[in-house]
């Protein structure tokens, strides 16, 4: 460290073609000149630290005194006071320390020169010598058998880790291709969560312009009902059959204008359920992919690449809506193996 007196030497005059301007003139602060201002800042710093103490006390007192579970008002009061207390406790220390450092601590400028990063020539020679000695004494250059078998052993050693990691979780298997829907599975109304006894749906319950959120009646059959619901969720809509523009080969997948489509967006799997019953647009709220329900849910806007998979439906002998089969196409976002079967 050099002192604050700075003398310009000849090699500093020209650094990369620029003249070193040197340090700006040292100006004393108000606290350096006027003792009463110095005392004022001293009191201010102490004030910040006292404020921090008060914040800590406020936090502890409000934590003990307020039971937040009693009502929304108490919850709000508790959150407000805890937040205020913690903020004051931490901010008081931080602001106090900075005011202290800026206004009261010593204010002289300090210059330090940079050092070379590399070691001395002597140290470097020693390091090279050590490596040479290790090569000689181990004989790795003279014994290719040992060297090559060592390289092979090192290459093989990570393989057990790969095998172990592979076993960490179950492989998806055919889970991405199948849902609970199957031939004859009845359509039930999704009343939120996993209903105990799902309410079944008849064809005459669905009026034109209405939309029903649907789950399979056998929702309790899988291992994890919520996982199964996440795959099998269906949106059922009834459209005037004159407005439907159906492929001849898929004409029998709907029933009297009632169409059923997967609710899981083919982009990244958000629930697509913003149905406009006049335009028949189905909008995904996450990235605005828009599907045309009259045209087999073809993508008409947004980042989704595949149409929403259609669930072929019909009615059974008792008038309940049933699935004809599982979804013919995999539901949800497209994945690498989608074309493997």
């Amino acid at each position: 460290m050099s002192s604050k007196e700075h003398t310009v030497t000849s090699d500093e005059l020209d650094v990369n073609g620029h003249t070193n301007p040197g340090l700006p003139e040292h100006k004393p602060r108000l606290t350096d000149t006027y003792p009463e201002i110095e005392r004022r800042f001293e009191r201010q710093v102490a004030g910040w630290f006292v404020l921090s103490m008060l914040g800590t006390v406020l936090f502890i007192v409000s934590f003990i005194a307020i039971e937040p579970g009693e009502s929304y008002d108490l919850m709000r009061l508790s959150n407000t006071l805890l937040g205020l207390g913690a903020t004051l406790a931490l901010l008081g220390i931080g602001v106090g320390a900075i005011v202290w450092a800026k206004n009261l601590m010593n204010d002289h400028e300090v210059t330090e020169s940079r050092h070379d990063i590399h070691g001395s020539e002597e140290d470097r020679a020693i390091a090279v010598e050590i490596i040479k000695q290790a090569k000689e004494e181990s004989g790795i250059a003279r014994r290719p058998l040992i060297r090559n078998t060592l390289i092979a052993a090192l290459a093989l050693a990570p393989l057990p880790a790969v095998i172990v990691f592979r076993e960490l979780g179950p492989l998806p298997g055919d889970k991405l291709f199948n849902t609970l829907w199957d031939q004859g599975v009845r359509l039930a109304i999704d009343t939120g969560g996993i209903p105990e006894n799902p309410r079944l749906l008849r064809a005459e319950d669905v009026t034109i312009g209405s939309v029903v959120h649907v789950i399979p009646e056998n929702i309790h059959d899988g291992d994890h009902a919520l996982d199964e619901k996440a795959k099998a969720a269906v949106l059922l809509m009834k459209i005037d059959p004159d407005e439907l523009n159906e492929d001849p080969e898929r004409a029998d997948w709907s029933y009297d204008g009632i169409v059923a489509y997967s609710k899981i967006c083919t982009h990244v799997g958000c629930p697509v359920a913003l149905y406009e019953h006049q335009t028949h647009h189905l909008l995904c709220p996450c990235h605005q992919s828009t599907f045309d329900v009259t045209d087999h849910c073809k993508v008409i806007f947004g980042p989704a690449k595949r149409p929403l998979p259609q669930l072929p439906i019909t009615v059974d002998s008792e008038g309940y809506l049933v699935a004809q089969s599982d979804f013919p196409d995999p539901v949800g976002p497209t994945f690498w193996e989608i074309n493997t079967r």
């Binding site: 602060r29 108000l30 606290t31 937040p68 929304y72 008002d73 919850m75 709000r76 959150n79 407000t80 900075i98 800026k102 206004n103 204010d107 109304i189 999704d190 009343t191 939120g192 969560g193 749906l201 008849r202 319950d205 669905v206 009026t207 312009g209 209405s210 939309v211 029903v212 959120h213 809509m237 629930p271 359920a273 913003l274 149905y275 406009e276 019953h277 006049q278 335009t279 647009h281 909008l283 709220p285 605005q288 828009t290 806007f301």
Partner: protein, 250 residues
């Protein structure tokens, strides 16, 4: 003579049974007189017929109102959406143009054209009788994708939007679910029973009256509004502190 009596009896019976089935949930105590219907027709011809046709049969500019029922009229006219101010992607809520009596007369006239959903009974509108927790589940399944989880509303395609549900009367919420105004789908009594509709009303009443435990709600619009807030005010505070930190003391 006997045949005529039998025919009359049969018509009365089937008509009565039909009315019982279609309006089972919402048989309204409000009685309408022939005079109401006549007054309603006059109002209709003067204010609505330009778009909906002289006999409510619909035209290029407006849909047919035959069979939409009193509930649809009460919602559309009662919230000021109809008469339409101008054509656009969506009719906005505004101060109602007709008073309650005139709205009831219009509703009576449209309901007299063909059976349709009636104005709901008070029994199904009382939030105190509903279960807000069950209503929350139903709301998140059926409504939240458009209206936002706490009913703050949200955008749809091409200038349309789902409006905010705060400050909407219980009756209008029920009628909107029942009749599916504009692009909102219908939720008939099979997909959402009248009791379930009441649960949803109870849920909306609960979230509209409760204190927000987290402080500022920022419109309850979700992560975009909250992110924007922290972007401006949080980053602004960080920049301000940095400038103060590196400034020389006077």
């Amino acid at each position: 003579m006997a045949l005529a009596v039998l025919l009359l009896l049969g018509l009365l019976l089937t008509g009565g049974a039909y009315a019982m089935f279609t309006n089972s949930a919402s048989a309204n105590a409000q009685q309408v007189s022939a005079q109401d219907i006549a007054e309603g027709e006059k109002l209709f011809v003067a204010n609505c017929a330009t778009c909906h046709g002289m006999n409510a049969e619909g035209s290029e500019n407006g849909p047919s109102l035959i069979g939409v029922g009193a509930a649809a009229v009460d919602f559309q006219v009662g919230t000021g959406r109809m008469p339409l101010q101008m054509h656009g992607p969506q009719a906005a809520r505004k101060a109602p143009q007709f008073n309650e009596e005139e709205t009831a007369q219009l509703a009576a006239y449209v309901a007299s054209l063909a059976p349709g959903p009636a104005i709901p009974d008070d029994e199904y509108l009382d939030p105190a009788l509903g279960d807000p927790a069950a209503g929350g589940g139903l709301f998140r399944t059926n409504c939240a994708m458009c209206h936002n989880v706490v009913g703050s509303g949200g955008a749809l395609t091409r200038g349309k939007y789902a409006p905010s549900l705060s400050g909407v009367s219980e009756r209008h919420i029920y009628e909107a679910m029942q009749t599916g105004p504009q692009n909102m789908p219908k939720f008939n009594d099979a997909s959402l029973t009248p009791e379930e509709k009441r649960d949803i009303i109870a849920y909306l009443d609960e979230i509209n009256t409760m204190t927000a435990p987290g402080g500022f709600k920022l419109g309850s619009l979700g992560p975009v509004a909250e992110g924007l807030f922290i972007w401006f005010f949080g980053l602004g505070a960080v920049i301000g502190l940095t400038v103060w930190l590196s400034a020389r003391a006077k």
